[in-house]
């Protein structure tokens, strides 16, 4: 998942009531995470979106 896809995912979650402040933090640090940490974060957000939809 690239940054653009992540941003889209975050926007979807915010539309479903997630906290913009917290997710903005994750967007900001995303580029500095290790690849495995990025994968974990994306999987977490995708799971959350699926559960909320």
């Amino acid at each position: 998942m690239d940054k653009l896809e992540l941003t889209t995912l975050v926007h979807q979650l915010i539309g479903l009531g997630e906290d913009p402040g917290e997710l903005n933090y994750w967007l900001e640090i995303f580029d500095y995470l290790e690849p495995t940490q990025q994968i974990l974060l994306c999987a977490n957000l995708q799971r959350e979106l699926k559960s909320l939809q």
């Binding site: 539309g15 479903l16 913009p20 917290e22 997710l23 903005n24 933090y25 640090i29 974990l40 977490n44």
Partner: protein, 214 residues
């Protein structure tokens, strides 16, 4: 003021005003999507589905807290800082990402970030011995600078990516001043409790030996 007051972690109006531009943009996106700031608690869903949504968000946030703990305690960070960790610091980090505090209060996603950054910052508290713990405040008004100093130290050691994460964390703490102040007080209470437990440990030694002998 009791500990429950200290651990209350809902953002207040001042913090809502301190969002940066990107957060404002994200708030606008949520407004366009028709979600109220407390949408997951709102009445457009049934109480049952609202509770279900709260649970999903809470669980996802807790998982992210665990990811953040891994980020802040990664070998890259540890090696970069070359710290002798304050005894109990890892306990603070673990508690920081728990779904509830020791006082039973729920922890929001923002508080998890702040508590985790503060837990990592506490690893850098310069204690040469538990008798050296100052009587005054250790963290109040200082945690943002403490995390910022860790960022600078990482940058000096060439760990640029880790340094940026600590910089962003310090900025996040600064933009949520009330949550940070509450976390500072709560974390300091925990540090002092850990220190008190360590100091009391020798007193309980004979009791433990007596129990073992019995």
């Amino acid at each position: 003021m009791d500990t429950n007051d200290l651990m209350e972690d809902q953002p207040d109006i001042n913090e809502a005003e301190s969002h940066d531009a990107l957060t404002d943009e994200l708030l606008a996106i949520r407004a366009e999507a028709g979600a109220h700031p407390e949408a997951h608690r709102d009445t457009q869903a049934t109480p049952e589905s609202g509770a279900e949504r709260d649970k999903v968000i809470e669980q996802a946030s807790a998982e992210r807290g665990n990811i953040l703990k891994g980020v802040l305690t990664s070998p890259l960070v540890s090696n970069g800082l070359n710290l002798v960790p304050f005894l109990g610091g890892s306990k603070l980090l673990t508690e920081s990402i728990a779904s509830t505090t020791l006082d039973g209060n729920e922890v929001s996603g923002r508080s998890r970030i702040i508590h985790a950054a503060m837990g990592a910052g506490s690893l850098a508290l310069d204690f040469t011995g538990i008798e050296d713990i100052p009587e005054g405040t250790m963290l109040a008004g200082k945690s943002v600078n403490l995390v910022g100093k860790l960022a600078a130290s990482l940058a000096e050691k060439g760990a640029a990516k880790s340094a940026r994460i600590f910089e962003i964390s310090a900025k996040f703490m600064a933009s949520n001043p009330n949550l940070t102040a509450k976390a500072e007080t709560a974390t300091e209470l925990k540090i002092r409790k850990i220190i008190a437990d360590i100091r009391d440990y020798p007193k309980s030694g004979p009791q433990i030996e007596a129990e073992r002998a019995a």
